[in-house]
Symmetry: C2
Subunit: 362 residues, 2 copies
């Protein structure tokens, strides 16, 4: 089937509550970039990516100006080949960065189109036999007071979460430790609790923090330092003595190869919306598997739930709304610690285009 058209848009969406982490500071908006593909058989596919507030209009321009001419007229079924052609076309300005975001959105649309053609939910087309995935709630809560943090935790538990991640990386490590201690006390000793530093620390600071945090039995410590300091990650893992999660800011397979080869990561976490789509995410999951590691996720849980259901080495699915839930016809259901992938054909994500309309970037 030949691709006949692409429709691309970028939306600037206010967050219901401004979020905060150690690196991005106060986040008030995110950007959603959508790609709708159509083929000459009436098939349709929806792909999307997102940013934390910058770069969305440029990503839309990459799809419209650089990828669309390559895609229109091409066979929608040969996803590997299209992926390689997109990668090569953008190589000089790419090998990561916004090129990977743009390829992600297109690649997700191609997979959606293919699964919808087969009338299969994505998880089933990918070979999964179950559509339930253990999930954790990703709090973006660095600037919350301890009270707010614990109230948020209560809400998470009421919603059915049985694993939670919190932010760390305050200016004073003692505050982090106090907050983690409060969370551990509230949740009890066996509850999976993760902490995310969003790259704020130097390697030395991260080692110090990891050693102090060990007493709270974290499931993992996430992004302790700069994402591309691979030897640094290895030192933190070895000297800090806590399992490390990392990868949301890596945009190429090669970067995951280097991170994994360094020994600095226990939970690789590719993001399907910025690693290059489902094609690239599955390659990283395979790389993790071959290295004896699980794979976890970052963001866009409505998509990752299918992927984690389908791989033999899944860890927890990250869940955080990032404001997108308000624009979904069918938000992802959570129950008893599990997220349940949709049975609708494709990834099953349906956007509320009317609600999005007023947030459209010109």
């Amino acid at each position: 089937m030949k691709i006949t058209s692409l429709t691309t848009a970028c939306y600037r969406i206010p967050l219901p509550v401004p979020l905060s982490d150690s690196t991005h500071g106060r986040l008030t908006h995110f950007q959603l970039v959508t790609v709708q593909l159509r083929d000459d058989d009436g098939g349709e596919g929806l792909g999307y990516t997102y940013t934390v507030g910058h770069g969305g209009v440029a990503i839309r321009a990459v799809v419209e100006r650089d990828l669309e001419p390559l895609l229109v007229g091409a066979d929608s079924g040969d996803i590997d080949d299209l992926w390689d052609r997109m990668w090569r076309r953008l190589h000089y300005v790419g090998r990561g960065g916004m090129a990977s975001f743009a390829i992600s959105a297109v690649d997700i649309a191609l997979w959606d189109l293919q699964a919808r053609r087969q009338e299969l939910p994505l998880w089933k087309m990918l070979g999964a036999t179950m559509n339930q995935v253990p999930v954790y709630a990703g709090g973006i809560d660095l600037q919350f007071t301890e009270d707010e943090l614990l109230r948020q935790t209560e809400t998470f538990l009421e919603k059915g979460f049985r694993a939670i991640k919190m932010k760390v990386g305050r200016a004073d490590l003692q505050e982090d430790l106090k907050r983690v201690a409060a969370m551990r006390k509230t949740l009890g000793p066996d509850f999976p609790l993760m902490a995310d530093a969003n790259m704020i620390w130097t390697v030395e600071q991260a080692i110090t923090a990891a050693r102090e945090l060990r007493q709270y039995d974290l499931h993992w410590l996430e992004e302790p330092t700069a994402p591309d300091d691979f030897p640094g990650h290895a030192r933190i893992a070895n000297e800090g003595g806590i399992p490390i999660a990392a990868g949301e800011n890596l945009h190429t397979h090669r970067e995951f190869e280097m991170l994994i080869a360094s020994g600095g990561v226990a939970f690789p976490e590719p993001d399907v919306a910025n690693i290059g789509g489902i094609t690239a995410w599955l390659r990283v999951a395979k790389l993790a598997e071959q290295s004896g590691l699980p794979v976890t996720s970052h963001g866009v849980h409505d998509l990752h739930v299918h992927l984690l259901a389908a791989v033999p080495n899944p860890s927890y699915l990250e869940y955080h709304g990032f404001g997108l839930n308000d624009f979904l016809v069918n938000p992802l259901p959570i129950a008893n610690g599990f997220a349940v992938a949709s049975d609708r054909p494709g990834h099953g994500v349906e956007l509320d285009w009317d609600a999005l309309q007023k947030h459209r970037e010109t």
Copy 2:
């Protein structure tokens, strides 16, 4: 002085003669993205970057949508601080790729503005005492016949070049060897001759090629394999036995750290138009110096001539027109193997805006 406005544009410029290399195939156009800064004291600065045909409109969008709001009202003199703020703002979609191209264009404009304010040519403001830099002609000639290759060589010699680079990476290595042999025979034994494979080979193929090429005494072999395969570069350098040049496709300081640490490069070649501008180029040059290596350049010779004049560890300046010469009021003069940096204030590059106008991307 406060920045009061930015004017940004993207031009799609046909190459006078279509060029060819092993990875990008046939190139018919390049894209020029320009940034003009003005401040409240009447100061002006011009920056620019370029692509090999894709991504230019997106880079313009990054400058207009994501960087301009940060820059307008800021102090134009605090370049390091502005660089860090641009980097952080684009980090989630950046850490290389198009973000680095956009930052490059802005950063170059900031340096130009500062040098023009001081009424100094850039090379002098950077502390250089001489404005002459040894230069080589970069041929983009993989698909030229041997006759065309030798005719091009004659033209280079007539123009004053005393060092030349040619493309390699044909499907049949024997053809590469024959062409390099013909060039060496024409140029004589002591003439600096480089060869550029534009990332086409696997590591094994590159080692084989390097061993065969050794007999022709190349000054360097450039981009033998994928730019981010750092251990691969080390193997090629060690087992191939030829000095390796690489870096035009690396877009972050960290990538240069990894490449240099691997031992896989003898001639690091950052490109000021995609590494993050003059600020980032100088940091990579310093890193090379601290590692006991020279630094060379890629593209935009009108800018690099100032930078190579100013560092203590310069290698040859690459010269290739890439079609930009037709749009410059004062193309870079070459004589007796040297390029001469302009004495005009700033980088001294003046674009022919009228001639550019009809190539403007909407």
